[in-house]
Symmetry: none
Subunit: 217 residues, 4 copies
DNA sequence: TATGAATGAGCGTTCATTCAT
DNA sequence: AATGAATGAACGCTCATTCAT
C-alpha cells in the first residue's frame, strides 16, 4: 500500500475526485496534490488532463467488457437464449467487478458515460465507440431478443432510458445514499441497488409499446 | 420582440448555453456576449452566476408545479384515484409546457436536477427542496398508490431510477436525436420521447420487487 | 507623469523590456510587474501578448509612415527628384521622430522587423504588409530612382542589406553603445549613428553591381 | 551514415531548428525528439542548452577563422596589401565553407552573432571574444587599411553596419529567398547573395564620412 | 440603471534540468 | 554511456467578481 508508483497514485486520486466533483470541476492541482506527486506528473505520464480521463476510462471499460464477454460465452453453451433478467444480472455482476476494485470506480465510469453524451464531446464519444462498441453490441442484441417486440427506434430510446437509470443512480450514489440514510435511517449498499434495478429495468424493456396515448399529450 | 430587457436577454442566452454545455462549462462571458449585454450585468441583476442558475430554475419549476397541481385538482373530483399511466401522462404534459416555452428549456431543467444531486451542491439541493418539495409530494404519493406494493426505501430508489431515465434522456436529447437520425434516418420529437417513456416507467414502477435474485449477484 | 492609465503604462513597460530582451524572452509577468498593473490587464486591454506586440508596432509605424509621407509630399513641389542622400536623411529624420518619443522605441521597432522576417511569423509579416506596404512603396521607388541601375532582384537584395544594417545597429544600440564607451571612452548618440549611416548606405546602393566576381567565390 | 553518435545527431538536429526558429524558440524536447535521442542527452553531453549553443558556435567559428587565417597567410607573400574587395571576397569564401557543410549552418551562425549582441548575453559575448577575437583582429585591421580614412569610432560603427547586413540577410535567407521567388519567380542561391554583397559593403566602407549633414537631422 | 475598467485567484501546460539506476 | 522518471519554476491565459462612475 505504501508507494504504488506515480501513475497509479495519480489514477487513484483522480478516480476519487472525478467521482465526487466531475471532470471539469476537478483540477490537476487537486489531483496531484492528493496523489502527493509533482504538478507536472499528469502531463508527463498522460500527456494532458484529457489523456488522464481516457486512461481512467480504459481502466474500467476494458475489464468490464471482458467480464461481460466471458459471461456471455459461458452462458451460450446452453441450448436456450438467456432471459432479460439473466442478462441484466450479468451486467450488474460485471459492474460489481469494477466496483470492487475501487469504491469510486462506478461513479467515475458513469460520469464518463454522461459526459460522452454531451454536445462538443464527440471526441470522447468516438473514442469510446471505436474501442468498445464491438464488444457491447452482442450483449445489446441479446437484450433485444427477450425484450418486447418493437421497432429499432423504440428499442434505441428504451436502451437510453435504461442507461439513464443506471448512470444517474450510480453517478450520484454518494448523494442518494446520504439522503436515504437521513430519511430512512438505513442506506443500501451498491450491490443492493444494482440488484433492485433488475426487475425494474427488465419490466421497462418488456412493457408493451402503446401508441394510443400519443395523441393525448 | 426587439429589446426585451437586460434580465430577460441574459436568461434566454443562459438557457441555450446551459443546455448545450452544462453550467460549469458555460462562462459568464459567453452568456453576456451572446445576450449582447455588459459583462457585469449578470452580477448586477442576479448577484452571481449561481443566482442566475437559481433564477433559471425557478422560471421552469414554478409553472411546472403549478400545472401539475391544477391537473391533480381537476382529476380529484372523480371518485377514483388516478392510475400510474394517467399520472405519468400528467407529468409529461407538464414537462411539455416547459418545453414549449423554449427549445432548450427541458435540457436546462434536467441538467439542473442532475446538478442538484452532486456532492458539494447542497445549497442548490436545499433551495429546490425548500421551494418545491411541498408541491411535489402529493403527486409522488399518488404515484406510490398505484405502484407495486413496496417498502419506503425501495420506492425511494425506483423513483430515482425513473428520475434518471427522464433527466438523462432530456439532458442529452440533442445528442440522442442526432444519433437516432444518423442511424435510423429519422428522429423523434421531444413530445414523442415523453410519450414513449410512459409505459416503460409505468411498468418499472409496477414490477414486483424480487429479493430472491439478491444472493446471485 | 504620475498615473498615465493602465494601457499606456503597459505599453511603456513593454517597450523597454521588448527592447532589452526581445519579445519571446519578455514575459507578461515582467511587463505587468514593471507597469505596476494587474497580471490580467494585458489580456484585458490587448487580448493577448501578441495583441500587445501589434499595438506597440502600430504605435511606431503609424507616425513613422505619416512623417515619411508628409516629407515626400513637401519635397515633391520642387521640379527635381530627391537624391539618395536626401531620401535617407528623410528616413533617418522619421526614425528620430519615433526615437524622441521613447528611448526604447527604435530598438523595439527594429526587433519587430527582425521578427517579421523569421520563419513561422507569416502572420506578423502579413499584418505589417497589409497595413504599411502601400505607404512605404512610393518611398522605396524614389530610392530606386537614384540608386545605381540594376535588375529588380539585385535591388531587392540591396534593400535588405540596407535593412539589415539599420535593424542590427538599432536593435543592439544599447549593447554597441556600451562597447564603444568601454573601448573608446565615448559613445555616440542615436542621432549621430543615424547620421553616420547615410553616406554608407547611400554608397552601397549606388555601387556598381559587378558580376565578374561571381566565378571566383 | 547510419548511426553517427548521439552528440553529432544532437548538433545536427539543433542546427536545423536553431536556423528555423532561433535559440529561445527551440526547445530541448524538439531537438532531442528530432535527433531521436533521449531527452536528457543534451544535458548529459553538453551540460546545458547553453553548452550546446556554444558547441554549435565553435563548430562553425573554428574552421571559419582557420580558413580566413590561411587565406591571409597565402596572400601576405605578395608585396602589396590586399584590397577591400579582395578581403570581402575572402570572408565570403570562408562563409561558403561553413555553408557547404550544412544547409542551415550559415543561418545558425548568423543568429548566434545576433544573439551575442543582445543584453543579458554577456556570457556568450565574452566566450566568443575570448576564443576568436585574436584570430579576427588581423583581418579587421586589413579591412581598415583599405577603407576610407576615418576615426576609430567611425570604423567601429561601419563595421557593425556591415555585420548587420550580413547577419540579417543570412539569418533570414530562408524567408527572403521565398519572398524573392514569389515576387520575381526566381530565387538566388546563397553563393550568389554572398557575391552581391561584396561591392555594396566595399562601397559602404570606402564612402567618405560626411559630417556636414549632422546638423540637418 | 448600468457599464468600462480592473482584479485576485486559479487554470492547464511547458520549460530546462536533475535524479536514480 | 545513457535513460526513463520526475521535478520546481514559470508560462500565457481565463475565471467570476468588484469597483468607480
Amino acid at each position: 500500500m505504501r508507494h504504488k508508483g506515480t501513475s497509479a497514485s495519480i489514477v487513484e486520486a483522480a478516480e476519487t475526485l472525478f467521482a465526487e466533483q466531475g471532470f471539469t470541476e476537478t483540477t490537476v492541482r487537486q489531483i496531484t496534490s492528493r496523489a502527493d506527486v509533482n504538478l507536472a506528473a499528469i502531463n508527463y505520464h498522460f500527456g494532458s488532463k484529457k489523456g488522464l480521463i481516457q486512461a481512467v476510462a480504459e481502466k474500467f471499460l476494458t475489464p468490464l467488457c471482458a467480464e461481460l464477454g466471458s459471461m456471455m460465452e459461458q452462458r451460450q453453451v446452453a441450448d436456450s437464449s438467456p432471459s432479460l433478467e439473466e442478462l441484466l444480472e450479468m451486467l450488474m455482476r460485471a459492474l460489481l467487478l469494477v466496483h470492487r476494485e475501487n469504491v469510486n470506480a462506478l461513479a467515475v465510469f458513469m460520469r464518463l458515460l454522461e459526459l460522452a453524451y454531451m454536445k462538443n464531446q464527440e471526441e470522447l464519444r468516438d473514442f469510446l465507440i471505436s474501442r468498445y462498441n464491438d464488444k457491447l453490441q452482442p450483449f445489446i442484441q441479446l437484450i433485444r431478443k427477450d425484450a418486447a417486440p418493437m421497432e429499432d427506434d423504440e428499442f434505441f430510446w428504451r436502451l437510453h432510458f435504461l442507461l439513464g437509470s443506471i448512470t444517474f443512480t450510480l453517478s450520484n450514489y454518494h448523494t442518494l445514499h446520504a439522503i436515504e440514510k437521513r430519511e430512512f435511517h438505513s442506506g443500501a449498499e451498491v450491490e443492493n441497488i444494482l440488484h433492485r434495478m433488475i426487475p425494474v429495468l427488465s419490466a421497462g424493456l418488456q412493457a408493451r409499446a402503446d401508441k394510443t396515448y400519443f395523441c393525448r399529450l
